[in-house]
């Protein structure tokens, strides 16, 4: 499985669900074979169930989408356990979150004055999360161009991993308003939300993350199982809100 490309993986894994994503995004009707793998935005892949699944984005521009796809594929690389982050819908998830209420600063106190503060005081940026992401992507690309002469998504996988590690460890400083480590943490945190949230949000396609760890999903009625599954694996096909809607 390791060396198979994404499309082969998607064609060979037959399961239920996830067709709702295509219906929800829609728009692009091109088919998988006509779309080069790795092309950033507006791409359509075959859904595991056979229908087309769009990777169309509403908030992210094409270069931003390329950045996010590369980053989530480094965070969640394709392997025996799951497809890569992009093919699990994590980039689509991030795009929709940024386009939606959370990205716009919902449930966030946005009044000034603004001061940097210390990390234990939490988020203090005057930017909404969507603006913060946009600035963070631009700052990362600027850093990559300055040090490696290319945008992040054009770097080799090894180079991308190194840039992300440096951001994570606080070893790089970005020019501009967005601190590299803070952006990294938000990016990683949001990607993990997408990978593990219910598939209704566009990520965790085919419940890949839930299957990987053995989380059975949403019905969750365990009155008897709490006794009968002590020290015993509970092997079921996970159910999502999407499946039950």
């Amino acid at each position: 499985m390791k060396n198979k490309n994404r499309r082969d993986f998607l064609k060979t894994v037959g399961t239920v669900g996830a067709t709702g994503i295509a219906a929800a995004v829609g728009g692009d009707t091109s088919v998988a074979g006509q779309s080069p793998a790795g092309s950033p935005a507006g791409r359509v892949l075959l859904d595991p169930a056979g229908g087309p699944v769009s990777h169309a984005y509403t908030f992210l521009t094409a270069p931003e989408a390329a950045f996010i796809e590369a980053a989530v594929d480094r965070f969640i690389p394709a392997d025996d356990l799951t497809p890569g982050g992009t093919d699990c819908g994590v980039a689509v998830f991030i795009d929709r979150q940024l386009a939606g209420a959370w990205g716009s600063g919902d449930r966030t106190y946005m009044q000034g004055p603004w001061q940097k503060g210390v990390p234990t005081q939490g988020y203090q940026s005057p930017l909404t999360p969507a603006e913060f992401f946009r600035a963070g992507i631009a700052a990362t690309n600027a850093y990559c161009r300055k040090t490696l002469q290319k945008d992040f998504d054009r770097l080799t996988v090894e180079q991308q991993n190194k840039v992300l590690q440096d951001m994570e460890q606080g070893r790089v400083t970005f020019e501009g308003t967005v601190p590299a480590q803070e952006f990294f943490n938000l990016l990683l945190g949001t990607a993990m939300q997408g990978f593990f949230a219910d598939p209704i949000y566009g990520g965790n396609r085919d419940k890949a993350a839930w299957k990987m760890i053995g989380f059975p999903g949403v019905i969750a009625i365990y009155s008897e199982h709490i006794k009968t599954y002590r020290n015993k694996k509970y092997d079921v096909e996970p159910k999502s809100i999407l499946d039950l809607s």
Binding site: I221, K239, L244
Partner: protein, 104 residues
Amino acid sequence: MRGADVEKGKALFEQCAACHSVDGSGDLDGPSLKGVVGRKAGSLEDYRYSAAMKRSDVTWDATTLDKYLTDPQAFIPGNRMAFAGIVDKSERDDLIAYLTVATK
């Protein structure tokens, strides 16, 4: 084999009472059970059922109620009732006997 015990069934109904009434009283979280025996599942006009329940094509009688109450998710997967079921067959018999009488 003993016969079903309506009084015991009435006591067992406490497990249902947080969400259902047998006589249509109250504004509870689950559908009223008044007239449930012989009714098509998911058919009360003033209750919003899960898609699973509406699609189930089940009519409630002693047999289907027994199957449902044994393991609600196994019988109608994806229904919204937050109840694990009743393992003991004689308890189910008692409860169904009570429901049959009380929901008329």
